[in-house]
Symmetry: C4
Subunit: 235 residues, 4 copies
């Protein structure tokens, strides 16, 4: 049974909303409880984000593929896995979902619905980190594109769990999540002036990985329409 675009966009909306709520909410909780030890706060933030990805990809993947990330949708479009109009819809749903998730997280913790972040995240090391983080994320996604759907959820969740710690930027690796993080002046936030550069290098990293895998796995386009999770689409 083919799944209509409106259902797929709804799945992208809810999935990205919960993802951002998990990122921001666990950051707030971690910072509040950790008594000043940033490593413990980030550990909680990491575990919550990685676990949320596993659950959300397994839950929403069969409907929309569980992109939750404009960089993934872009890469999928490059390989012919998603039509241009559908891709545009996906990106919109992800951005609206992400902003909604930020508001939900703020409200759950009794804070103003929106507070613009003042968390500075600039400089070459941070930007190189985001390039590496998104390059690696797309390597994992393309590398698993022929694997069983359920495994991709664990691969992506595990990758982000690791990347929170092995990149200096804690691996945003997602333009919709980056935009949404502007809306919470808390642990996981990013100040608006740093966003454009973050998004630019994330897109560059996604494109670079896609070009590498186009050569590494010649049959890639045949699997592109089933990225991240196999889902029957109506064209």
């Amino acid at each position: 049974m083919k799944i209509s675009l409106e259902r797929r966009l709804t799945a992208e909306f809810f999935g990205t909303a919960f993802l951002v709520a998990a990122v921001i909410g666990s950051g707030i909780m971690g910072e509040r409880l950790a008594g000043g030890n940033i490593a413990i706060a980030l550990l909680a933030n990491t575990i919550a984000t990685g676990a949320a990805l596993v659950a959300l990809i397994l839950a929403f993947g069969p409907v929309s593929g569980a992109h939750f990330n404009p960089a993934v949708t872009l890469a999928d479009w490059m390989e012919g896995g998603i039509a241009r109009n559908d891709a545009a819809g996906y990106v919109c749903a992800q951005m609206v979902g992400g902003a909604t998730g930020a508001v939900v997280a703020n409200v759950m913790f009794g804070m103003p619905a929106v507070s613009i972040s003042r968390h500075a995240r600039g400089g070459g090391a941070q930007l190189f980190s985001e390039f590496v983080a998104t390059f690696g994320l797309l390597c994992v996604i393309w590398g698993c594109s022929r694997a069983k759907s359920e495994m991709v959820a664990f691969a992506v969740g595990s990758y982000i769990t690791a990347a929170y710690w092995f990149t200096a930027s804690t691996s945003f690796a997602n333009p919709a999540v980056t935009l949404a993080r502007e809306l919470s002046d808390t642990f996981a936030g990013i100040q608006p002036r740093n966003v454009p550069a973050f998004v630019a290098v994330q897109i560059a990293g996604a494109i670079a990985a896609t070009v590498v895998f186009r050569w590494l796995v010649p049959g890639l386009p045949q699997n592109a329409k089933d990225v991240i999770v196999s889902h029957p689409t109506k064209d």
Copy 2:
């Protein structure tokens, strides 16, 4: 081979008992050992609860479906996955099991079998958190309803692991567990006066998610009888 109702209720009893024992017991252990750092206590509580869910759903799912949660049983009944009388039996078994688990946890740690909690958990932020937490839990369960049984255990365990941190209420998301947590005046407890509102918003969240997924996945009722884990039932 069909499984009799008494066997299914026994599985719900043991599963919910172990779930509550894990929630309360690990809260006591975490608080005792963490030397005042609440984040570390909650991290232990989180890991124990998420891991317990994986093990218990894999173990008891093939018998009863591994609901362990009246909100899940209610949602399943809404979609025609379980008969009304069976559902009532499930809820009773879950509540008795939950209370038993609380007593077992208290006794394992050398405390009085029952001590009414004085842990205040009220206010709009907490209640909104419980709505979101249970809404998300049912999204994950319905979203995975067509997936392989074994994956649901990981999806639910991962979701609760995340939700402990991304909701201000640490995501009870389960009326039977909420009732049982009254019975232990420890880390994971909740004072009786806060329970009715918690249960009300949990039920509202479960209903809301079920309504959303009824539209999102039109074939949902066909899978409802196999929620959470596929199990042969005798009707």
Copy 3:
């Protein structure tokens, strides 16, 4: 292809040795590094033990079934899954393996090969905890006996991860491991005088769970010979 008894005993030896080395070694490392915070030491001990179980059951399960635990072998013998002589061999291999693992852990950390533990672990709460811990372990093992082999590794690893925190005794739940823990006067040790009672309640818990599951899952004996992991045996 049937697997000879000597090969199966070798697998039990190595599996139990690595399990005990993981339990004791990570306890030593955790205590050394945690700067006096017992919760952090136990968290490291927990993660290492749970992860080791996943890896060891997946690795040695196809050869011997990956019991690594006399209580499991006893329960399996009760259901006709293993012959009496083979069971006796398993228990010996587990005990020799456990002791070897303790010595290896001690030597890896530059300590005397054997140092008798002075860690007191007595009293009713501790013993009740061990009964509950082993009862739950066998529930998980029998409950998963019809599941795919690979899932059992995760179920057992997850269960022990949880039980380390939700029981007051940190869930030894294994007579061979209990005996071996006498041999290291470190974090995970137990003084010899507490061992007999621990072993007794562990066996009682295993028998109780087996009796419950004999009723709960009538077809249990048919799956008993493939507990924990399906392995072709030569009789």
Copy 4:
């Protein structure tokens, strides 16, 4: 479809690079944030490394088998799973990849591209630990050689997660990673003078485990060409 050697070497390069970046990068991040508590820094380092292994083996395994480790390639060659020339190529790709990963990690954290480690890791306890760590790693790999490909990723990730804590050396267990860790004077580093002995005992451990499993699983060579992850090779 057979996969050409150049593609397989590229996969080994990227996989080992990301593995080393994860090991070194998370070590830097952990040490910076942990406020002097080494256990918390190592916990972050552990979780990042174990999770990275799961993601990278799932992603690159279908191309090259996901060795990422000269000790694994050597053991695979011993059992006839890889031709000598291919094995030599694998080892080169792993070493170049590892060094690249170290440089990337250093640069991501705003440090000089290369800084020779002064971290002393000598003595018999450390060397015995590395022997045990690599022996165990190859036991897990050979033990899972007949299992489903996806499970091996979790087995290896779980094993290393455990071994970081249960060996005194934090389980390098990989000559290419050991060499690369010389290039970062940070948490995960090792001073050059300790490297030759580490590599020697790692190789000894890998050979010992291979000899044990040659007897334990007689059909081993038939599965050797699919270690760690099944991948179609062109000979």
